[in-house]
Symmetry: none
Subunit: 318 residues, 2 copies
Amino acid sequence: MVSHSIAMLEILLFLLLIGKSSETSSMEHVRKLLPVLTTSLRKGSCGKIAVIGGSVEYTGAPYFAAISALKLGADLVYVMCAPEAAPVIKSFSPELIVYPGLDPDAVLPKLERVDAIVLGPGLGRSPHVAPLFDKVVDFVINKNLPMVMDADGLWFLNESISKGIKPLPSAILTPNMVEFSRLCESALGEKDVLKIKDQSKLEDLASRLSTRLGTSLFVKGKVDIITNPDGKVTVGQDEGSPRRCGGQGDVSSGTLAMFLLWATRQSSAEEAKNAAGLACSELVRRLAKTTYGKMGRSMITTDMINELPALLREVDGK
Amino acid sequence: MVSHSIAMLEILLFLLLIGKSSETSSMEHVRKLLPVLTTSLRKGSCGKIAVIGGSVEYTGAPYFAAISALKLGADLVYVMCAPEAAPVIKSFSPELIVYPGLDPDAVLPKLERVDAIVLGPGLGRSPHVAPLFDKVVDFVINKNLPMVMDADGLWFLNESISKGIKPLPSAILTPNMVEFSRLCESALGEKDVLKIKDQSKLEDLASRLSTRLGTSLFVKGKVDIITNPDGKVTVGQDEGSPRRCGGQGDVSSGTLAMFLLWATRQSSAEEAKNAAGLACSELVRRLAKTTYGKMGRSMITTDMINELPALLREVDGK
């Protein structure tokens, strides 16, 4: 009886260990891109990132993108936002360098010093922001700078489609399903994309949209679809969380910008976007799963941020 | 000796399970209304809530209502408040989307996208707010939108009683005993309601008030009285906490709005209000009891918010 119980216990322990190691091994795309930290590094070596977003209404979105990039490993994170948003975003974290004002003449020179850009979280849709949007896009094209475009950035992009838009070879667009359906309608004339259940149809649409726009996509849904203008599709479908609270998309955009920067330093542009997309999908889904496991249905995005250090230690095997 | 220990362990485990299940079983009304979370959900599926409140004096009340709704399971929570209150409420939580300004022309269009409203926490009693109060009430009637009216919202309602007020079939009013006595005096001519000790008299008054106003009530007191215009009375009398620090009523209003939304999706209007009221009473009283058990007389409302995730995990049996 006793030895039987002990044997059972051993089997249980074994299963737990197996479970743990198979979980960790699934983080291979993340591990490949995380920079090796050595004492020879200087401040900035691992990345200087700008998040352009934050308006009189939205202050959480740029903060989540910025703090995610910082906690994933950026050395310096700048936020360029509407003047009214700046004190609030500053108050969320003393780590962030927050510039009030979205005047292109003030923002563009500051972008000279950054390695990657997130354009759009909480940017708002004010027509006053349109000139900045256009100039940042041109700057990114000229400098071939890694960029993630999300949220209201995608809204401005969508508004420009009828006038003709330029390909962004160094960027990834990160629409959620609502933003994806809006882009599909504007760029491909496809309606009712939100009603499509068939995953292969969604992948085909994503591939066509990417080719049409000339820019890579990371479409966030039940499965993450990563696709480049050459039409090739990769998916990220690790288990995530069923909780859909606001802010999770901003964690993705900050995370993807970092992985895109690091991947660009390792490989060609197309390969980099695939590698970054897969790593982002892997990390954010696992982060959501772990956080949901701890917090349950009360989980909020701040809980995910708090969980990131432990998850990265696990990836590092520490 | 070893088998003896194992037997003891089994007994202990059994007792723990018994204890857990008997506590958990009292949360049946909560469990019935909590939505099942699946990976097919989209951001917003579990609820988009607006809290209208927050003034130059009050910033905590709308925050407590908003964060309670979010942590109970809302996907997106908006706060519409006086301009002076906005930066402070924003700084409490990056998760909340806070709109500065209570001009009806700016607020009403934003309500088009929400599923339920909490009207009143920290709203203040400035005559400048009266037009917004009237327009939100009309909007809620026209859209048949779930609404919880609390605090200064009830003060504006009370001021309108002499001029005649409209029934609110989709709403619940949540007066505490002071607000209840004021409404009883204005609507029923009953004085000194605060001096009444007899619970059945209070229930009778609540029933008459609900019928007179044409709107459901959730009267917060030693016992919570839930009553509909048809005069039927239900009570929530689980053990709570003896601590009466400010902010607990705001936790109730945010919680009730979520349960009302979810109940409305499951059943008829009258049934929904009973189900939501019972679930809210059950959850908030248990939350207060648990938090008081941990924090003692120092307990503050923020402690209750912090305790919510663990309590919901317990309800979910996780």
